[in-house]
Symmetry: C3
Subunit: 481 residues, 3 copies
């Protein structure tokens, strides 16, 4: 008993989770930097500026409804819900890390979207030294943040909020560069971000997790589980991601048929994924019982995998086929691959992002390359082919594949470098036996009265004060019934 | 004790809930069939096809914003949320069937929407042997699924997921036929589906429940209850249904004033329902205490009942009157009718869909018939009257009433047939003492540590190992406080 | 023990929470009054009336998409979610008042929006004795309700639903008058309602709370706390308010750039608030642990404070500065001001609306006044300046400040009067030791089986019936594991 306690104290000494100075410092300084950089660089674009009225006249636009706001704002709000409620609640599944799951996502995303507006603006929207922003920039900033949230999924419960801020700073920076290379230099198309967002984000997170490998993580294994209600909370995240994924994949697609088609393809693909996920989950468990982990995660794999090709003429049955395969691959990944990765490759992946984002993201890149290479004038029409792809289909297919490689390299390379930085002993990360526990960073409310009172009562009883404890018990009975 | 156990074992032998082969088989085979049928039949329509650019020129459409996507996509996403989060979470109210409530809805709906696209397509959208789909088809598919989810409400906790798949297969088929008869042959109007969706779906489910009557269901009555937090989860479902119902009733109404008016009428009607639901719930309970079951369900009855007439010139006060009545009728139904149905008609209705969908649906059909029959040129204008109704108002009223009868017949008749099929002992449904329990089909996480530890500690103590148990208790105190 | 019980009984006698007659009476009579008044006054406007087709021709409108419905309906639905899920779930944080938090908000809002349509209609939209309504009226009605829900936040757990209905009746009335004075007589602008909604609503609620001061409220202090899962439920409310606030502030802004800019400013402002809230929360707590109360509430302060100026040319960095300050001020308010208000000013503010709405609302009014006064033709252009402000900038700034004063006066004055009315002993409010407890007004489901069974088992054991209790324990072990 004494030895145990002294060991714990030693751990507490070497691993100090007190972030009372580091977190406020990072938040305040970085936010101040954002204000300064926004002051220098960021302005409204012609559609959100008060001079829109003049702009309309110049461009002979007859109605305010032509403002891009009305094309994209509903999709933007859906994406916004995916980022904060979708990702946030998907990460509440652990029994004692729900605060950290939803709370740190909230922090990370709020910082990340500001930094993304700047980084993406410098690469894509710099006009006369100013970044002119509108609703499409907000969507892209949310997309960029999604990459970092995916990475957080691998690290959930094992890192401090300060580490997450650092992860986001570098993650957004890397994202903006790889996005620029993939979309603007290689001319790959990736409206739903299978490569740019999911492949990059997942391998970025997995590489960091590999660098931060914790050999004694089983010390907190009792907390790396869900309870009944935390699983229901996580389903809120799952369903919002699932329902709004058509908006995610169509949000920045071309006006008109582009957005329309991307939404239909994603809707269908995700529906097929649900059926195969249920099938595999039941088939590979003893007694055929379904596993909530699969339902919460693998049902979403189709949305990832159809990201690149959603705006293409994938055809409804093509979308279903992609979804069918992803449900199978992703669920099998949870059953066989996640334990393998942890045991042999030393990658601890709390949320199983390898199955939800990495593999489906790569599949999405490949599907995109194949469907681009297979594009024909009979399906697309001449005009359609020119508008959709800047290159000849076969060449476009190659460039799509090239884009996938870039995303992989940036994810793995960037993750290793950032992981090395995060290993420095200054970030306030928890000890191995303190992982997956909100106590480390949050004021956690006391337990439900009932359990506590029973405990108190029991201790009472143990001391043989049977008579005095009478009052407690009866009170208890009264307030409960 | 021994007798009890052997009885349980016998039950387990006769009722095998192991769906390890049947569920995967159904999911994989049916999904494969969907892929093949989609490959043969389903293509993009002119607004979601890449040839939209050519189509625009042909039709002299000046802007992409005229694409139906921008008229209907925000409503579609709201409807989508209603189907998956609304219905799904409304069914999480049981203490130990939240996984089944939200999970099986997810499965059922994901299959149903694919099958609905085909069935509705064959009846409504077949052009040269192809079904051309756009956002309106997605909305209609979601509507069709709503009918099956309503039916699930009566059966919640008492059927296996395989049975739900069968229920959906037949439910969608029947739905498409009755919808075709009501809308295309009888020329009734039903934008919000009071008849087509709610009346049909509710009587379909109730008839199935009647066929599957379980005389010994009280054996699992301890589980047919809510706990505090499961009631709060269910309120998520309630509120999303309530808030987005204006989108449901306006989603496929006519562009412009039609959608606008349907949304206003539904908004008002639902507000009135809330007040009378609270009134009746308090008035008929002892001590005036409100019952969560009423608040979760009866507050929604107005949305059902205003479905048919929402796009008509019902007038704002008309919408309020409909809402007023539905709150009263539906809440009284929960108090008096549900027990009556179970005791005398042998209909076990877990969620009370008779009060939430069946009665309000019939009221909605009647309100629709009356307001169509009462339509006058002074209110509608000549042009309006012609656009809204293909027939003279009095005749239209009769046809609306006819539509209601068709929905009733299909619901009851179809339910009896499908119920007979579901009685076959091959579907893996639970035994009477195993109902309302997620253990049957799900890997359920262990209980909260606190309770378990107390239990362990107690057992410890019972064995008089007072001294050895010291350690456990102290640890407990530490980790808890 | 006997004395205690008789004291409780006395309390129960003086404070009767039985609302079996009063609540139904209020609901039914007021709803009936609404129907009559709607019958007399409320009709569809030209965009929701069936004569829209004629109206289009008259006004040379070429497309249905020009209907205001398509400009505002997505924002309306977001606002609707904020009112019912946002405010409702934010108030579920108490361990035993989640039903009351979400349920009474639902009731209050459903009545309030009807009464608001009438009150605001009489002041703003009366044409030939009729109020013509469209989607903008629905948004304004929801806004008006928001004021009353804010006031409820100060009173949460301490008032009866009948009192809330009275609060709403007067609150909406006062709101409509102050709104008319501020917007139409003083010509201040306030698209996001920093003054009209938040300042008014918060001081209205705080004044009522001051009038209803309960000196012995610490008797129910054990219930004025959260538990783990109730904090997660509250995060649902927080996130929906946070995510959809851009829609709130842009919902009734000018078409085109006005809505676009308001959304961008709010998005940025809220992101900055999150960072400073986390910073201050960690900095001022012992061990740097974050407090869920701050994360749930202070992260929203930026949305309040940017309400007035969101549609102005505040500039992106301006929005960030406002957010930065509000996160700091609001979080410090929770740490220092709320205890001060309770101790010295006798204002008991359950949700801390002084920190979330009152102070940020006043800041918002001031920011609005300054940015209006500082408006220049170089930024706005001549046309923009004329469209945005009816007056010269400097004068406009003064009028904005005047608007703020009107909101404050109406809030405090109205709150004192309504508070006096609510002190009458006829409204069924709970006794001091009965506050924050759903038992008073709701049928609360029994506790989780586990705790109860343990309790029963313990009582058993206490009676030394060790042998007989064997059965219970083993059963227990079986059903649990």
């Amino acid at each position: 008993m004494g030895a145990c306690q002294s060991f714990r104290e030693m751990c507490d000494r070497t691993k100090n989770t007190n972030i009372r100075l580091s977190l406020p410092a990072v938040c305040v300084i970085w936010q101040t930097a954002m204000i300064i950089l926004f002051g220098i660089f960021i302005r409204y674009n012609e559609e959100s500026d008060i001079r829109w009225a003049e702009h309309k006249k110049l461009k002979n636009i007859t109605s305010d409804i032509e403002n891009d706001f009305y094309f994209r704002y509903p999709s933007f709000q859906d994406v916004h819900v995916m980022i904060f409620v979708g990702f946030g609640f998907l990460m509440t599944f652990l029994k004692r890390y729900s605060f950290g799951g939803v709370g740190f996502s909230f922090l990370l995303a709020s910082f990340g979207l500001q930094w993304a507006l700047l980084m993406q603006g410098w690469f894509h929207h710099l006009v006369d030294g100013k970044i002119l922003i509108g609703v499409e920039n907000l969507i892209n900033a949310d997309f960029c943040v999604a990459g970092c949230l995916i990475a957080y999924g691998a690290l959930l419960g094992k890192v401090s909020p300060v580490q997450l801020m650092v992860l986001t700073l570098f993650g957004v920076t890397l994202f903006a560069v790889e996005e620029y290379i993939i979309l603007n230099l290689i001319h790959a198309r990736d409206a739903g971000g299978s490569m740019v967002i999911h492949t990059f984000g997942a391998y970025y997170g997995l590489s960091i997790s590999w660098m931060l490998y914790r050999p004694n993580l089983e010390q907190s294994s009792s907390l790396q589980r869900s309870v009944y209600h935390s699983d229901v909370f996580a389903m809120i995240g799952t369903l919002y991601l699932w329902m709004f994924w058509p908006s995610f994949n169509s949000a920045i697609a071309d006006h008109g048929d582009g957005q329309h088609r991307a939404a239909i393809n994603t809707y269908l693909c995700l529906a097929a994924t649900v059926l195969t996920t249920f099938a595999i989950s039941s088939l590979f468990q003893k007694h055929g019982k379904l596993d909530m982990v699969h339902i919460q995660n693998s049902t979403l794999a189709g949305g990832v995998a159809v990201g690149t090709a959603a705006e293409f003429m994938l055809m409804p049955y093509g979308a279903l086929i992609v979804g069918f395969c992803c449900g199978v691959v992703s669920t099998l990944g949870y059953i066989y691959l996640t334990p393998f990765l942890e045991k042999y490759l030393k990658i601890q992946d709390t949320c199983g992002i390898h199955n939800l984002h990495a593999m489906p993201g790569v599949i999405g890149g490949i599907v995109g390359a194949i469907s681009a290479a297979a594009a024909s004038e009979s399906v697309y029409g001449h005009e359609g082919l020119v508008n959709m792809f800047k290159l000849v289909p076969a060449v476009q297919g190659g460039h799509q594949a090239g884009g996938l490689c870039v995303a992989l390299c940036f994810g793995i390379g960037g993750g290793i470098i950032v992981g090395a930085i995060l290993r420095l002993p200054i970030w306030g990360d928890p000890a191995d036996d303190n992982c997956f526990d909100d106590e480390a960073y949050w004021e956690v409310p006391e337990e439900e009265e009932s359990s506590l009172q029973i405990l108190q009562y029991n201790n009472h009883f143990r001391n043989k004060d049977v008579v005095e404890s009478n009052f407690t018990v009866e009170q208890d009975g009264r307030t409960r019934s």
